[in-house]
Amino acid sequence: MDTIAKFEAKQLKAMASKKQIPVFSAGDTLKVNVRITEGDRTRVQAYEGICISRTGNGINESFTVRKISYGEGVERVFPLHSPVIESIDLVRRGSVRRAKLYYMRKRSGKSARIAERTTGHGMEDGREVAESAGE
């Protein structure tokens, strides 16, 4: 293993013990609990929306969450392993055929819906089955 990979693996290992990242992919609805520091006190704010993309790998992995806030589309890119993220809750699994849902940017209302996924990877008869977390 080269030095960079070793260094990143070491950093991941140190962070992995702190929080659990659920197995999720594009189309899933997520609730991201973000730590916000105002002055000298910190609080946790939830950001809920549809994951439209996951990109990168290892410590450089990030994901994009899109939501409609007061009628305006908002997208936020989070580094997956950022210490700012307190936790990620998987609210709902979505059934989509693409890895990147950038077409959602042009959709609104009825056409911007994503059907719930009840089969496929990580699921059996509509129930979640334990899947070994990727990283």
């Binding site: 080269d2 030095t3 960079i4 070793k6 260094f7 990143e8 070491k10 950093q11 962070m15 730590r35 520091t37 410590i59 450089n60 580094p79 392993h81 950022s82 210490p83 700012v84």
Partner: protein, 247 residues
């Protein structure tokens, strides 16, 4: 003035701070770094330590070098560099240096050879503007333009900026912050980029233009001293320095 370190540039990555910031870092690796010779005022007219790093193939070490390594009683090294030091910071031949020579938060200057660009034109080498892309322009798009006047002076002045070899010159990047050091793997994490290609030899010294923090180990961060420090955690910094000297 303390000695610097020889390191290998391993590449860039990111480092997450507990506060949630991520810092772009260059990873520099220090391995088997030993003092191979000492220059003294009496003998050489200046005071410096010669450090050696890396393990070469033995067939690539010539006889003269082999002799000098044998004299110093160190394994042959593939890269040698000299660092000027104050007389009180001279190290013993054979002493092995550790990455704990530098402390997080400290500023350093990093010296290396820049990436080689080969034979480059005026636009890349000197930021010349070039010529127009269209409006009747023929063939000359990236050429120099005029290089001088007419019969007077009748020649091109010396040092006229012209195409030629670009890169592979010594570049020093000043005031880079040390983000963290990893004594276990011998890594130094420096914020930002560093001249040179991956695998290049790099010299790291204390920043010339920033004050040196008081906590840095004096005369240098040595492997033995670091081990002693772990044994006696309450030991203060000057005491560690003395131990290093006593070796």
């Amino acid at each position: 003035m303390r000695t610097g370190l020889i390191a290998r540039k391993e590449g860039m990555s990111r480092y997450f701070t507990p506060e949630g910031q991520h810092i772009p870092v260059t990873i520099l690796k220090v391995e088997k770094l030993q003092v191979t010779a000492v220059r003294t005022m009496e003998k050489d007219g200046y005071v410096a330590v010669q450090l050696g790093a890396g393990t070469p193939k033995i067939k690539n070490v010539n006889k003269a070098q082999r002799e000098s390594f044998a004299k110093a009683k160190v394994a042959p090294k593939s890269k040698l560099m000299e660092f000027r030091v104050d007389p009180k910071n001279v190290l013993e031949v054979g002493a092995e240096l550790s990455v704990e020579h530098f402390i997080p938060g400290q500023f350093v200057d990093v010296q290396g050879a820049s990436l080689g660009k080969g034979f480059a034109g005026g636009m890349k080498r000197w930021n010349f503007a070039g010529h127009r892309a269209s409006h009747g322009n023929s063939i000359t798009h990236r050429s120099l333009g005029s290089t001088g006047n007419r019969q007077d002076p009748g020649r091109v002045f010396k040092n006229k900026k012209m195409p030629g070899h670009l890169g592979v010159e010594t570049v020093t990047t000043q005031n880079l912050k040390i983000v963290a050091v990893d004594a276990e793997d011998g890594l130094i994490l420096v914020q930002g980029s560093v001249p040179g290609f991956k695998g290049a030899w790099i010299a790291i010294t204390d920043a010339m233009k920033k004050p040196l923090p008081k906590e840095v180990p004096m005369p240098a961060g040595l492997k033995k001293a670091a081990a002693d420090k772990q044994e006696q955690k309450a030991e203060a910094a000057p005491a560690v320095a003395e131990e290093g000297k006593a070796e």
